[in-house]
């Protein structure tokens, strides 16, 4: 995954915030996942138009963390959710 990639919620995945965490459901695949508060925040910010770099920049600002660390964490998070078919990526 590159920082210039754009990520989007996979069609068919439904979500709800519950006490700061996110519950993700894909009924056709029988998938249910819980994202912790940091992951839930990234999930909320993903709108199918923003790049991984833009998401990381917002996370860095919101949580007061170093830009490089935010980029690494956000990239790893997105890669994991793409592997699990919860996010799609466009180059």
């Amino acid at each position: 995954m590159q920082l210039t990639d754009v990520v989007a919620h996979t069609p068919g995945v439904v979500s709800r915030m519950v006490d700061g965490e996110a519950v993700l459901v894909d009924p056709k695949k029988g998938m249910v996942r819980v994202l912790n508060p940091a992951g839930a925040r990234i999930w909320e910010m993903i709108d199918g138009r923003r790049t991984v770099a833009e998401l990381a920049a917002d996370i860095a600002a919101e949580y007061g963390i170093e830009a490089l660390r935010a980029q690494a964490d956000t990239t790893a998070f997105c890669e994991d959710l793409v592997r699990r078919d919860v996010l799609t990526v466009s180059k």
Binding site: G12, V14, R16, V18, D19, E21, A22, V23, V25, P27, K28, G30, V32, R33, V34
Partner: protein
């Protein structure tokens, strides 16, 4: 072919089953007897199903029905069983051709009531339910997680409503658990299957050497419940409502993770936990 009319009631929801031929109707009555009652003008009939056994065709396998769910309609479509149910018209037609028609009838009723209960604000849960003096304790989890084991270890501690499927319905601000006739183990005493009572707690199960209760986040509890709602959790059109309903349940009923071993000691932990909550005013 003359149909025999049977009134099947589960969790306060009544279905008229028009079964033919007569000996098939007799087999259905024998299997589901405690849930079949007279036409006494009591509960309204919510649904009517025409079910015909067209004769056992032995070359057809008894594989599980293929079910296609779309909104208010559900289609069953295999050589062993075919038909359609519609929540909009509150009617179904179902033809059975397998060598185990009563087992196929049970499968149809499981699906029908999962949908009917959901349409009436409740949920059918894949869980074991045990009625203790403190209320009904529900043990949720996938196959092999220990639900039937927890039920079989509860002799003397409570009455088993079911070891596989329990219906939850809201009633005056509480969630009421109802037993069902849809069992997993043959050997568990079935006296509790017609019982119902308020839910005292819901537990996900972990097989362990130690016996303890661990808290679950509300999100993890919602996720566990969604994973335990057969039929409805496979329909994309129901997903948002299902999330909301599971959130409602988690707000009203404590959901925790229970580590247990293969003996009844987990009941001591549940009862101590319950006593502490009462002392704390929770």
């Amino acid at each position: 072919m003359t149909a025999t009319s049977l009134l099947f009631s589960l969790a306060g929801l009544r279905t008229r089953l028009e079964c033919s031929p007569t000996d098939f109707a007799a087999d259905v009555l024998a299997r589901f007897g405690p849930f079949i009652g007279p036409d006494d003008g009591g509960l309204p009939v919510e649904f009517t199903a025409q079910v015909t056994f067209a004769g056992a065709q032995t070359h057809i396998s008894d594989a599980d029905l293929q079910v296609r769910l779309a909104g208010a309609k559900c289609r069953f479509d295999t050589a062993a069983a075919s038909g359609e149910l519609s929540l909009a018209t509150r009617a179904a037609n179902f033809t059975l051709r397998s060598t185990s028609p009563v087992a196929q009838m049970e499968y149809f009723l499981r699906i029908l009531y999962a949908l009917l209960v959901e349409a009436h604000g409740g949920l059918m849960l894949h869980c074991a339910g045990i009625l203790a003096p403190s209320g009904v304790h529900l043990f949720i989890g996938q196959s092999g997680s220990g639900k039937s084991t927890a039920a079989s270890l509860s002799r003397g501690r409570g009455m088993v409503l079911n070891d596989d499927l329990v219906v939850l319905r809201p009633e005056q601000g509480r969630w009421i658990a109802h037993g069902t006739p849809f069992w997993n183990f043959e050997t568990i005493d079935r006296d509790g299957q017609i019982a119902s009572a308020p839910v005292a707690g819901i537990y996900t199960l972990v097989k362990d050497r130690d016996v303890l209760l661990e808290p679950l986040s509300a999100a993890a509890a919602v996720a566990a419940l969604i994973g335990s709602c057969p039929v409805v959790n496979g329909d994309p059109g129901r997903a948002l409502d299902l999330l909301a309903r599971c959130r409602q349940i988690v707000r009203a009923v404590p959901v925790q993770q229970l580590h247990f071993r293969k003996d009844p000691s987990f009941w001591d932990v549940l009862e101590t936990n319950r006593r502490l909550k009462i002392e704390d005013g929770r």
